[in-house]
């Protein structure tokens, strides 16, 4: 019996120059192998194929940052990222922040404590930006936080509380790491 390649998961079945391609990536720590259209956008793949509705679509130009996810620990605008470009990468969305038992991450607790959101639309992007920042700089000063947070837009203009939330997230992350050390 002839064995045909599995076109959904067989990478060799997606040769160069095709209208679609097969990619492998880790989504919130879970390996995924999917076939995507060459022109597929990461935001759409995450929302439509993987149910990551915490990734917000807004400006579609990489400006507002509501769609921010982490790709290999770096903040990326998923609305302006082709899905093919995450082949081999680790992608993290806001859905991956909380523990499996539902316990909030230090960043989420900090935003909740400090009221770092109003309408909440920008919050998932802000949380991912905060997560990326604290991985690079666990104790950022206010200037650094301001520089990072200025990557994203909060239409409610609650920036002061967001700044405080990031500072609190750094404290909570330090405490959590200290406890686990």
């Amino acid at each position: 019996m002839t064995e045909y390649p599995d076109h959904e998961t067989d990478r060799s079945a997606a040769p160069d120059g095709e209208l679609d391609t097969c990619i492998e990536f880790a989504l919130n720590g879970v390996k995924q192998t999917v076939r995507v259209a060459a022109n597929a956008i990461l935001l759409d793949v995450l929302r439509n194929n993987h149910g990551c509705n915490g990734v917000r679509g807004s400006c579609e130009r990489g400006v507002c940052g509501a769609c921010t996810v982490l790709v290999d620990d770096l903040p990326v605008a998923s609305c302006s990222t082709f899905a093919f470009s995450i082949d081999g990468a680790s992608v993290e969305t806001v859905e991956g922040l909380a523990a499996p038992d539902g316990a909030l991450s230090p960043q989420q607790r900090a935003f909740s404590e400090c009221g770092g959101f109003q309408c909440g639309f920008c919050t998932s992007g802000m949380l991912m930006l905060t997560t990326g920042l604290l991985r690079q700089d666990p104790q950022p000063d206010r200037g650094t936080i301001r520089e990072w947070i200025s990557s994203n837009t909060c239409r409610c203009t609650g920036y002061e509380m967001i700044l405080e939330s990031v500072e609190r997230a750094a404290e909570l992350t330090g405490e959590t790491n200290g406890e686990s050390a």
Binding site: G17, E18, N39, F82
Partner: protein
Amino acid sequence: MRIQALGAGLVAQTQFAMAPFRLHRPTTIEDALAIVSEHPDAVIAAGCSDLVAQIREGCAPNTLVSLQKVDALRAISHEAGVLHIGPMVTHHMGATDETVGTAIPDLAAAWASIATVRIRYTATVGGNLMARRYRYEMPLLLGALGADLVFDAGALSRPVASLWADSGTDQRGLLTDITVRTDDLVWFGYERSMRPTATVALAVRRNPDGTLQVRAQSGSEYRHGFALTADTGARELDPLEVSAQLAQQLPDDCADYTGSAEYRRHLVRVLTRRLLTAACAQLKGTTTR
């Protein structure tokens, strides 16, 4: 909702729609050149932060060549008085690279000031240049430095100013290197405090006879950069005189709806004077930037 049909070959009811294309992902410069040669109308993709916007705006490539896997295009080196910057170098890489920081420290500092943290991790110098958006700043920084754009692994070399002079069809090919001479460079600075109305990048070089020449690039959000040059004929800079000389060269079509040509000349005179004053101070050893 807006209708987006311009050249896309489809009518999309929203900006979410993306024109389909065939994807090529070479891993070497040679392979990339071969694909581009085979598909002369191919669109070249670097960091893609601008390209996705272009496609949403109606650009409809049949073939897209992603350079993401061509590691050789991320190289940075400084050899024989020339800084080489690979077009796939991201803004973050360039701004924090030790070679760039040693060769032209103020280029690294200026590079770190553009865009946002998130965009700097993704966007590349090659994409910033080849997008030919007036508001992008790498054409200003590299234009003032007199950088050359090397296409097709050395087959063609063009100054940065050619981005505005050539039409899209005149400048086909693959950007493979960006070169900046550093052997005669004595100072470089960038003033963006008046962005988006006016920005100025300025480089001072020393001629073989010891006199100084100044090359500036003035830009704004809405008009392409203009090159301004002054061969001072002197070994020291006179900020007042040279800034006036540079600003005077701005043509009338530097005006846009945010300011007249006269206003823009005034701004450029002020910004270049600031930069030249800083250059003078550093050259005299009274301060360092």
